[in-house]
């Protein structure tokens, strides 16, 4: 009962203090909480956006969700048509395509370089990968195309001096231009550049694509073979389940998920996670110190008043609790306002003027759980930060509190 009465008094004092206190100070404190919360979520959201963007581009342009590769000591997958048909029937598979890789020297005028050239089935490839959505010039390959080549922007250059590897590119090749390709088997052929794509993902933009039909005709590779088979799974389907199903029909192939292929990207992701954690700890310290100062200054100003409250018999715990309630109020209102500012101001603004990273334009990631977790953390930090000065103020002798 005594606890309930103390809690009631604490809530009463906190509410009256907020409602009838200085609105300027209240506004400033809540604004500070808004900034602290935004500080807690902004950079991690940006880094998460970079990670999500990188992962999405990896899946959408290079690896699909699952890559099927030749078995040990083999350079190609045999019976690839049967394999792709079997995979297509597996529940959870959205699309499947095969790619054959061959090295080649591509030349345009005095500029040349060695890049990977892939033979693809444009129709099937388009269902697995989203390279066709990133064309900056020309058109995507058609199934019946011959003598046509699709170049990544880091190969063609396309006059875009700002791209990362422009110096090593063909510099000024555009759609409709002719380029000479000499494949690693010695065959040489002139191709017309049908289109140039710019995924803004260096590994993807360093590739060239021709039709599988062209590749077979030029290199004499065995029909019904491929270097790799790529699978796009439906949303929510686990890659491991698809791999398990394929293994039942074929045991002469190996599997890699997009995460297995991440390599350098995984290192970058891990570094981002560490940076994220460091930034969060710093932001939490800022939050703790801010709330501590706000409470400390408030308590310093009200030292005499608190002394009088104690002198007339208001329990110390009720006084401390009233300060904790106020700190909690600042944190909750601050976090709620910050979420609104983040969702309805910062995210749309950033989407309009996105940050440009080597992986392309990055959008801020919105993660409800992450925001809620940070809200709870801010709430707890606020309570602890208010508790310390509040406890200190009530441990002071009443006379010292009233008369200094």
């Amino acid at each position: 009962m005594r606890f309930a009465r103390a809690a009631r008094v604490a809530v009463f004092m906190a509410v009256k203090s907020i409602v009838r206190g200085n609105y300027g100070i209240l506004l400033m404190t809540v604004m500070m909480m808004v900034l602290v919360y935004l500080n807690l979520i902004f950079t991690p959201s940006l880094l998460e956006g970079v990670i999500a963007n990188t992962n999405a581009k990896l899946v959408d342009t290079l690896t699909g969700n699952v890559a099927v590769e030749p078995g040990r000591d083999k350079s190609t997958i045999d019976n690839v048509n049967a394999l792709t048909e079997d995979i297509r029937k597996i529940k959870g598979v959205e699309a499947v395509c095969a790619r054959s890789r061959i090295g080649g020297e591509i030349r345009s005028g005095d500029e040349n370089g060695n890049w990977d050239v892939y033979g693809i089935d444009p129709a099937a490839d388009k269902k697995v990968f989203k390279t066709s959505r990133h064309l900056i010039e020309g058109k995507y390959l058609g199934p019946e195309d011959t003598g046509q080549i699709l170049l990544g922007a880091q190969i063609a250059g396309a006059g875009k001096k700002g791209i990362e590897l422009y110096g090593d590119s063909l510099k000024n090749v555009h759609a409709g231009d002719k380029v000479q390709v000499r494949f690693t088997n010695g065959v040489k052929k002139e191709f017309t550049v049908k289109g140039i794509f710019y995924v803004q993902f260096i590994q993807a933009d360093l590739r060239a694509y021709i039709t599988e039909k062209d590749l077979q005709a030029l290199t004499g590779s065995k029909p019904d073979t491929a270097s790799s088979v790529y699978i796009r799974t439906r949303a929510g389907v686990k890659e491991s389940k698809v791999i398990r199903d394929i293994r039942r029909t074929r045991d002469d192939v190996r599997f890699k998920t997009w995460e297995d292929r991440a390599g350098i990207i995984k290192n970058m992701t891990d570094s981002f996670v560490i940076i994220n954690d460091i930034l969060r700890i710093v932001a939490l310290f800022v939050a703790a110190i801010t709330i501590f100062i706000v409470t400390y200054v408030d308590l310093a100003n009200k030292r005499r008043q608190i002394g009088i409250q104690r002198a007339i018999g208001i329990g110390s715990q009720a006084i401390v609790a009233s300060y904790l309630i106020r700190a909690a109020f600042y944190a909750v209102i601050g976090a709620c306002l910050a979420v609104l500012v983040f969702l309805y101001v910062i995210v749309p603004l950033e989407a309009k003027y996105p940050f440009h990273f080597p992986q392309g334009d990055v959008l801020l990631a919105i993660n409800g759980k992450f925001m809620a977790r940070n809200g709870v953390i801010l709430f707890l930090v606020a309570l602890v930060s208010a508790l310390v000065p509040a406890e200190r103020s009530i441990s002071m002798a009443i006379l010292d509190a009233i008369w200094g």
Partner: protein, 234 residues
């Protein structure tokens, strides 16, 4: 503790051989030396003395706001001298009312809210708002219940403080120079309020004053000089 209060028939408050020494660096100041007083129920005692005589220090010891250096304080026969602060706080809330020299009201609360806060904390009055209104009426402020301290005069604020001290039906009300910051008219109103409470409600009142004119309000006088009891005001 209540059972002891019920069984005890002697004085409300008694202090025996009370001393208080303040330390200011290496210097010791004897604010009170071997003071013994008995406060009988229904009394109106005025502690008088010049500035620095120790009268406020004595009142703070009586009101359980400060700890004496030596001696004992008996509240209705129970030794409360060395009680832990948590228990002292409850005693102050339940049995003692304190009126400070400076009005000491909470600025964010209205007069009514300032008055019912201790009742809300103690929980002895079911309808504490009604009780607060009644005590404000008792001190003549029923028209000012919803005003905040800044909207009240000094005298009104002090009467709100008296109402606050009164809300939990205390055994004693302590008032530390309650009229020190007031004009003559307001001071007279405040002192008349205390006298009325003592006369009509039989509330025991102990107040401190340095003004010889305040003798008229007291039934008993206690004179202090240099922290010691003396026979008359010098």
């Amino acid at each position: 503790m209540s059972i002891f209060f019920l069984l005890y028939n002697g004085c409300v408050l008694e202090i025996r051989g009370l001393s208080k020494i303040y330390r200011l660096g290496d210097i010791e100041v004897n604010a009170l030396s071997d003071v013994s007083i008995k406060v009988e129920s229904g009394e109106m005692i005025c502690i008088m003395g010049k500035s620095g005589s120790g009268k406020s220090t004595l009142l703070r010891q009586l009101g359980l706001i400060d700890f004496p250096t030596s001696g004992s304080i008996m509240l209705e026969g129970i030794d409360v001298t060395r009680l832990a602060e948590r228990k002292r706080s409850l005693l102050r809330l339940e049995h003692l009312g304190y009126v400070f020299q400076e009005y000491a009201l909470i600025p964010e609360l209205t007069a009514l809210e300032n008055v019912y806060l201790p009742a809300m904390m103690l929980g002895n009055h079911k309808d504490y708002k009604k009780r607060a209104y009644d005590v404000l009426e008792l001190v003549g402020l029923e028209e000012r219940t919803n005003h905040r301290p800044k909207e009240l005069s000094g005298g009104e604020q002090q009467r709100v403080a008296i109402a606050r001290a009164l809300i939990n039906d205390p055994k004693i009300i302590f008032a530390d120079e309650p009229t020190a910051n007031l004009d003559t008219v307001s001071a007279e109103k405040v002192m008349k309020t205390l006298v009325d409470l003592n006369d009509k409600l039989k509330v025991t009142v102990v107040f401190v004053s340095h003004d010889p004119d305040d003798k008229q309000y007291a039934k008993e006088l206690v004179f202090l000089k240099d922290g010691k009891l003396v026979n008359e005001y010098i």
